[in-house]
Subunit: 370 residues, 2 copies
DNA sequence: TTTCTTGCCGAAACCGGTTTCGGGGCCGCA
DNA sequence: TGCGGCCCCGAAACCGGTTTCGGCAAGAAA
């Protein structure tokens, strides 16, 4: 079990090659190869002998030596887009941890790259495909219409998307049921007594934005609250945009007393906007969001949110991709996981009704203007 | 699954190989290889012809085909340790961006892995070395005595450390001058009028902790303030520990009016501790820290801190490692970069003297106990 | 002129695997 | 006894590069 050799002394004794194993047993290296790869034309007895000898000698095939013939390098590709406002950054460590963990289990590795723009991501992706640096790719942050998908589909390279998209035939994916979270958030707020519940959606380029809006509407319907288009704020992916969206909502004649945000960062913008108007989160304004960013825990009061398990996502995506590379039908490789509610202090029964809130905002406005 | 085409084998036009280039020009493939790799025994004219033909035909050598003979896969290895309290997480995206960017520039790739424990990091590192998945490694979070270093030194595998360490002969490294930052923080607080300045250091397993303590002491000396061991708090790498360290400082007969923290997270703990005692940051208590975590900007008031440029660090580390792999002397591959001061609101002139502060804390205590 | 370099390149071995092809036993069956 | 078929496995080709070795021609030295 404990083979001293595999613990990395590469400088001294030469690597154990497949020929060493073959010579040790007096068989041909072709036989060793076929035995180790489970070919049916090698007898069980020989397979056993060979695998034991390989173990004993500490033989580990070099993946790049295999790749020269098989075209497979046993590596998963991951090209990240890292821009300054990347909302995915806090999850990155967990996500990478999940991916590499699952890859390690199968003795695969992960080849990673990061680019600042969509354009450069596509170029790097093409380069990695061209140079066969990975056998397949995980595509994070799927867009509604995603150039990467066409690139990989054309090159006939396996991939798995993190997030659904519009046209997903021939696509494998893993996604979180954001729509269910939005729906649950809405009914939860309704149950607390809110009747004016707004939604601040995510970026239009993401498919999930659409899904989450539908979830919000479904929540309203379940609670028997008619949908009011005025309560569907402009999109917000950042704190700043979230604050702006909130401003717009507060200038409504019948302002909402609760806001469901598609992403946590927008919700933190709501905090800021509320703060600026002297409204307290969890009192005059309730908020529920989605993502589970760490800042949400540090906000005051803590942000109630639906958190996604990024590590699990990474792990599942890696496993799906490996299956896909091994030949599974992409249509069979699709998974949905729920987000989990993290209850903190930002969602409470309304301290003011919408009318009272409007009155108070109006008073402030007049004071300001005096 | 029966007549399904294997996904791993790519369809479409065959790759352009070195033989294609050779045949196109009527030379041998050995000549093409030597020409493209800049061997001196190929005439300049031939080199030019060959490199142009390669360009024209779109020839790209497969790194794993090269690796089988050269042993070099043109890949940098990065094994991260990701535990739940990992203070490096917010920087990870920038760091990875820097590393992969620099690698891309040289047409290298980055092989990444993540493990939760030190033990598993070493095992994974050994596996990657053994399987030749990378030509060298970047070691983040260097410890005072680091097992990874011995592993790699023994295996004769190139590496570069992010952070200095005790015994660094034969080691290449890149580091941030945390000691200078601590010194500057201390003199800055002294210039604001503080005379009782405490230090909350980092974990003892890190070499930088020692350096930063020295920087703090140097700052005191420069300001003409004698070092008081009582003001050297217990180590703190987390918010919780930071709050605990602050508690201890506040129970001193002559409590500090300012705190220099080795890491931002500890400083955020100081915020919490001050808050709990009704002390306002930037008034009764001033704080300067180090790291530049995003939460520092969201704290109230914003945390004045010395920020490190993680992207640049990643980029420089990658470049140093590539040079190291190409044979440069590790002793020549050492770089120090400064941290940059981000002025926010947590460092101001003291609102109370140490004595007054002690008095006030004492009053509170008595009220509590009544 | 002869010999010795030197520059330049082709031929072939080589790296560590995989895969094709074919053939030697052994069995069953006529 | 002869023959076909099946089970195993060896031999060798192959993958796409790199590197060694040696030879030819031109120029320099004798």
């Amino acid at each position: 079990m404990t083979n001293m050799r595999s613990v990395g002394v590469r400088a001294g004794p030469r690597r154990v090659t497949i020929s060493d194993v073959a010579n040790d047993l007096g068989v041909s290296k072709g036989t060793v190869s076929r035995a180790l790869n489970g070919y049916p034309d090698i007898s069980e007895g020989t397979k056993l002998k060979i695998s034991r000898a390989a173990e004993r000698l500490g033989y580990r095939p070099l993946s790049h030596a295999q790749a020269i013939r098989t075209g497979r390098v046993r590596s998963l590709g991951l090209v990240l887009q890292i821009d300054s406002e990347d909302s995915a950054r806090p999850f990155l460590a967990d996500f990478i941890g999940g991916v590499t963990q699952a890859a390690s289990d199968e003795n695969w590795t992960v080849t990673i790259a990061a680019e600042p723009t969509e354009e450069r991501v596509r170029k790097t992706l093409a380069r990695l495909v061209d140079e066969q640096k990975a056998d397949g790719f995980i595509l994070p942050r799927t867009l509604k219409h995603d150039g990467r998908v066409t690139t990989l589909l054309n090159a006939n390279v396996p991939f798995v998307m993190f997030g659904r998209t519009v046209e997903d035939s021939e696509c494998a994916w893993y996604d979180i049921k954001g729509e269910d979270a939005m729906r649950a958030a809405t009914t939860r707020l309704a149950a607390l007594g809110h009747t004016r519940i707004a939604h601040i959606p995510g970026g239009d380029q993401y498919y999930y934005t659409q899904l989450r809006i539908e979830g919000y509407k479904a929540g309203l319907e379940a609670a028997g609250i008619p949908f009011d288009p005025a309560l569907l704020a402009p999109e917000a992916m950042t704190r700043r945009a979230g604050a702006a969206a909130f401003d717009q909502l507060m200038s409504l004649p019948e302002p909402p007393t609760a806001v469901v945000c598609a992403v946590d960062r927008a919700a933190l913008g709501v905090y800021r906007g509320a703060n600026a108007r002297g409204l307290r989160i969890g009192r005059e304004i309730s908020v529920i969001a989605y993502d589970g960013v760490p800042e949400g825990a540090y906000a005051d009061p803590g942000l109630t949110t639906f958190a996604v398990n990024s590590q699990q996502a990474g792990e599942r995506l890696a496993r799906l991709l490996i299956e896909r590379i091994r030949g599974a039908d992409p249509e069979d490789l699709r998974e949905l996981a729920p987000a989990t509610l993290v209850e903190r202090g930002s969602d409470k029964a309304p301290a003011l009704s919408s009318k009272e809130l409007a009155q108070r905002l109006n008073d402030q406005h007049e004071i300001k203007n005096v």
